[in-house]
C-alpha cells in the first residue's frame, strides 16, 4: 500500500512537470478525491479511489467494463444520488469545497459540473430549446436576446452552429448521432460549467463523428476542466493529458497520458494496455 501511494505521488509530480506550462495558464488542481467508496446496495463497486484532477486539461479514465470508472465519474457531479440504493463515502472536493457537504445544493453543483452521457440524449424538443433549457432553469439569461446569444455561442463552441443554424426550431432528435452528441455538449456548455464530465461520449458514434468530437474536446480544454471516461485507449491517448487506469473498482495507476501508455509502472496497467485483460 505504501509502495502504491509512493508511486501515485511520483506520477503526480511528473504530471505537473510534464505539462507544457504555456498550454494553459492555470495548472492548479481542480478536483480532489480522497478514498471514495461507492456501494450499490450491499455491493461495493468502488474500493477507495484517491485522485487529483487538474484544471483546464483533459483527464481520461480507462479500464475494462465494470471497473468503476463511470461510477467514479458519476460521483463527481453526484449523479449517483439519483440511483436507488447507491451510497458514496469519502471526500470529493471541487476547488477545496466538499461537494457532498449537506449544505451544498446539488442543483448548483450540477450547474458547475456539466455532464455528457454515453448515448446522445437530447430532449425531445427543438434544437434551440435543448440548448436554452439549462440557462432558462438557472436564470442565467435575463432576456430573449441574452438567451439567443447563449444558444448561438454554445452551438458555435460545440462546432454545430453552421450545420443547424437554419433549423434551430426542428427537433434535436432529428439530428445524426454525432450531431446529437455535439448538441448535448452545447447544451452542457450553455449553463456555463467549469467542469465537463463525459461518459464514453463517442461509444455510440461512427469514426468520423468520433474524430469531430475528439477535436472538439481538444479545443474545449483551453477553457474547461474535462474528465472523460472511455473504452478506447487510442482515444485516451489522443485527447487526454492525464490518464487514470481503473480495474475491479480500484484506481490502479494514474499519471501523464504519455507515461501511462509508453511506460506503465503497474503490471495490470501494462497488461490492459497490451490487450491482455479487458
Amino acid at each position: 500500500m505504501d509502495v502504491m501511494a509512493g508511486k501515485v505521488k511520483m506520477t503526480q509530480t511528473t504530471v505537473e512537470s510534464a505539462m507544457n506550462p504555456t498550454d494553459a495558464p492555470d495548472r492548479s488542481i481542480r478536483i480532489q478525491a480522497q478514498d471514495v467508496k461507492v456501494h450499490y446496495g450491499a455491493k461495493e463497486a468502488l474500493h477507495g479511489v484517491s485522485i487529483e484532477i487538474p484544471d483546464r486539461a483533459v483527464t481520461s479514465f480507462i479500464g475494462p467494463s465494470g471497473c468503476g470508472k463511470s461510477t467514479f465519474l458519476r460521483c463527481i457531479n453526484r449523479m449517483n444520488d439519483t440511483i436507488e440504493g447507491a451510497r458514496v463515502e469519502g471526500l470529493i472536493k471541487l476547488d477545496g469545497e466538499d461537494i457532498y457537504d449537506p449544505s451544498l445544493d446539488v442543483v448548483e453543483l450540477r450547474a458547475r459540473i456539466g455532464m455528457v452521457f454515453q448515448k446522445p440524449n437530447p430532449f425531445p424538443k427543438s434544437i434551440y430549446e435543448n440548448v436554452a433549457y439549462g440557462p432558462k432553469i438557472h436564470g442565467i439569461a435575463t432576456s430573449r436576446t441574452d438567451l439567443d446569444e447563449i444558444v448561438v455561442s454554445s452551438l458555435r463552441r460545440a462546432g454545430l452552429f453552421e450545420e443547424v443554424k437554419d433549423r434551430l426550431n426542428e427537433p434535436g432528435t432529428g439530428l445524426s448521432g454525432g450531431q446529437q452528441q455535439r448538441l448535448c455538449i452545447a447544451r452542457a456548455m450553455a449553463v456555463g460549467p467549469e467542469v465537463i464530465l463525459m461518459d464514453e461520449p463517442c461509444s455510440a458514434l461512427d469514426p468520423i463523428a468520433t474524430a469531430i468530437i475528439e477535436e472538439l474536446i481538444d479545443e474545449l480544454r483551453a477553457n474547461y476542466t474535462i474528465v472523460i471516461v472511455t473504452h478506447s485507449m487510442q482515444q485516451a491517448a489522443r485527447v487526454s493529458q492525464k490518464t487514470a487506469f481503473f480495474h475491479l473498482g480500484n484506481l490502479i495507476e494514474e499519471g501523464v497520458t504519455e507515461d501511462i501508455f509508453t511506460n506503465p509502472i503497474n503490471k495490470q496497467t501494462q497488461d490492459y494496455i497490451m490487450g491482455r485483460i479487458g
Binding site: M79, R110, N121, F123, Y133, I137, A188
Partner: protein
C-alpha cells in the same frame, strides 16, 4: 492420402447426419409454428365473430326504435267541451297570495276538464264515418300522455279556444308494436295487446296517413316514463351520466395523476410505499359493487349526501377509477427512458423540473389515454350505482349533480326489465347504442388528442 479421404468421407457423412437431424427438427418446428398461428387466427376470428354478433343484434333490435308511430290529428279546442273561465288576470290591489290562489284554482279546474273528450273527437274525425269503437278502446291508440299535451298547448296559448289546429301525438306502445309487427297478428284476440276494433282502426289510420312512422326525437328529449312508455326517453339518464363523468374527470384525474407522480417520482421507496402499491393493485381488482356499498355507507349514511345524486355516483365511480388511473400513469412514468431523466438532472434541473418539464410532457399522451379509458369504464358501470339509489325511477332531467338522476347503463338495466317486452326490447337496444356512441366519442377524442400531442412532441 487414403487416410485423409477416409476422414473426409467420415466428416461428410457426419455432416449429412447432422443436416438430416436439423431437417427433422425443422419440420417439427414449422409444424408448431403453423399450429400456433392457426390457433391465433382462430382466436381472433372467434373474438371478431362475437363482436359482430353483438353489434348485429344490438343494431337490428335498436334501429327500429329510432322510428316511432305518430298520430297527426286535427284537434278542435271546442268551447262546448272546454268550459272554462278565462285565466285570472291580476286585479288592482290584489295580494300576491290572493292572485296565486286564483291561479291555482284556475289550473285545477283546467285539469278537471274532459281533455280526453277533445282527443276522442279529434280521433273520430280521422276515423271512417260512424266507425263503431268504444271510447275506452279508442283511447288506447294514442299514448296516455296525449291529454296532457293537448292541455299544455292550451295553457301556453289560451287563444286556441274555438280554433282547430293539427297536433302530432305519439301513438301508444301497443300501437307501435302492432304497426311494426312486433306482435303476431294472428294471435287470438285474448292474447293481443290492442282490442280488435282498435287494431282495425290503427290499420286504417296507417293507410290514410293519420298514423306514420317518424323519427323518434322523444328518445333523446324525453325522460323515462312508466305511465306513457311510448314517450319514455333517455334525456334524464344521459344528463345523469354526463354529470357523473364530469365528477369523475374533476376528481379522479387530478387525484390519480398526482398520486401516481408522487409515488413514482418523489416518494422514497420504503415498506410503506410497497404496502400502498400492493393495495392500489388490489383495489383495481375489487368488484365494483363493493365500491357501491362503500359509497352507500360513507357518502350517504355518514356524510348525508343526497341519495340517487350524480355527485355521489360520480364519487363512487371516482374511487373505482382511481386505481386504474394510478396504475396506468405509473406504468407510463416508468417507461420514460432513464437517459431523458439523466439529461435533465445532469443539467442541474431539480426533481420537480425534471418531472414537469421533461417526463410529464412525453408521458402525457399515455396518461390521457389511460384516463379516458378509466372514465369510459366508469361510464359503463352499473352495479355500484344500484346501491346508492341511482336505479330509482326518475322522471326529470337533473338540473345539477345534486338532483336525483339515473345513468345510461342503469336505464338500460331498468328498460331491459320492463314488462312491456316487445316494445322495450328495441328501446333497450337503442339505449345501448346511445351509450356505445358516447363511449366511441370519448375514445375518438382520446385518439385524436393522442395523435395530436404525439405529433407535437
Amino acid at each position: 492420402m487414403t487416410e485423409l479421404s477416409q476422414s473426409n468421407t467420415a466428416s461428410r457423412s457426419l455432416a449429412a447426419e447432422r443436416a438430416r437431424k436439423v431437417k427433422a427438427g425443422l419440420r417439427r418446428r414449422h409444424m408448431t409454428e403453423k399450429i400456433f398461428r392457426g390457433l391465433g387466427i382462430a382466436a381472433i376470428v372467434a373474438a371478431l365473430g362475437f363482436v359482430a354478433l353483438l353489434f348485429t343484434d344490438v343494431l337490428s333490435k335498436g334501429i327500429p326504435a329510432f322510428t316511432q308511430a305518430n298520430l297527426h290529428l286535427e284537434v278542435a279546442y271546442d268551447p262546448a267541451i272546454i268550459k272554462l273561465t278565462p285565466a285570472p288576470v291580476r286585479e288592482v290591489g290584489q295580494s300576491d297570495a290572493g292572485f296565486e290562489q286564483a291561479n291555482l284554482k284556475w289550473r285545477s279546474s283546467l285539469v278537471l276538464l274532459n281533455w280526453n273528450k277533445v282527443l276522442e273527437v279529434a280521433m273520430r274525425k280521422s276515423a271512417p264515418a260512424d266507425y263503431d269503437i268504444d271510447t275506452r278502446q279508442l283511447l288506447t291508440i294514442p299514448e296516455t300522455n296525449a291529454r296532457h299535451i293537448l292541455r299544455e298547448r292550451y295553457v301556453e296559448d289560451p287563444g286556441l279556444l274555438g280554433k282547430t289546429i293539427s297536433i302530432d301525438l305519439v301513438a301508444s306502445a301497443n300501437v307501435d308494436n302492432w304497426v311494426k309487427g312486433n306482435i303476431d297478428r294472428d294471435l287470438p284476440d285474448a292474447q293481443q295487446q290492442l282490442g280488435a276494433d282498435a287494431r282495425a282502426l290503427t290499420d286504417f289510420f296507417a293507410e290514410n296517413g293519420t298514423l306514420t312512422k317518424d323519427f323518434a326525437t322523444g328518445i333523446f328529449t324525453n325522460v323515462d316514463s312508466r305511465a306513457a312508455p311510448a314517450s319514455a326517453g333517455l334525456a334524464g339518464a344521459f344528463m345523469g351520466s354526463v354529470y357523473m363523468m364530469l365528477v369523475v374527470i374533476i376528481l379522479a384525474v387530478p387525484i390519480g395523476v398526482a398520486s401516481a407522480i408522487y409515488l413514482e417520482e418523489f416518494a422514497k421507496k420504503s415498506r410503506l410505499t410497497d404496502i400502498i402499491e400492493v393495495n392500489i393493485n388490489n383495489l383495481a381488482a375489487v368488484p365494483s359493487i363493493v365500491f357501491g356499498l362503500l359509497g352507500a355507507a360513507v357518502f350517504i349514511n355518514f356524510f348525508h349526501l343526497p341519495i340517487s345524486a350524480p355527485l355521489v355516483g360520480g364519487m363512487v365511480l371516482t374511487l373505482m377509477t382511481l386505481p386504474t388511473i394510478i396504475i396506468a400513469t405509473r406504468a407510463a412514468l416508468q417507461s420514460v427512458s432513464p437517459a431523458l431523466r439523466q439529461a435533465a438532472l445532469g443539467l442541474g434541473a431539480s426533481r420537480t423540473q425534471m418531472v414537469f418539464h421533461h417526463v410529464l410532457p412525453v408521458t402525457f399522451p399515455s396518461i390521457l389515454t389511460a384516463t379516458i379509458i378509466g372514465v369510459a369504464q366508469a361510464l359503463g358501470e352499473t352495479a355500484p350505482l344500484l346501491l346508492i339509489g341511482m336505479n330509482a325511477f326518475v322522471a326529470s332531467v337533473p338540473a345539477s349533480p345534486l338532483d336525483q338522476a339515473t345513468a345510461l347503463p342503469v336505464q338500460i338495466f331498468l328498460w331491459n326489465g320492463n314488462e312491456n317486452r316487445n316494445f322495450f326490447e328495441a328501446r333497450t337496444s337503442a339505449a345501448i347504442m346511445v351509450l356505445l356512441g358516447l363511449m366511441i366519442l370519448l375514445n375518438a377524442i382520446a385518439i385524436f388528442l393522442r395523435t395530436r400531442l404525439e405529433r407535437r412532441a
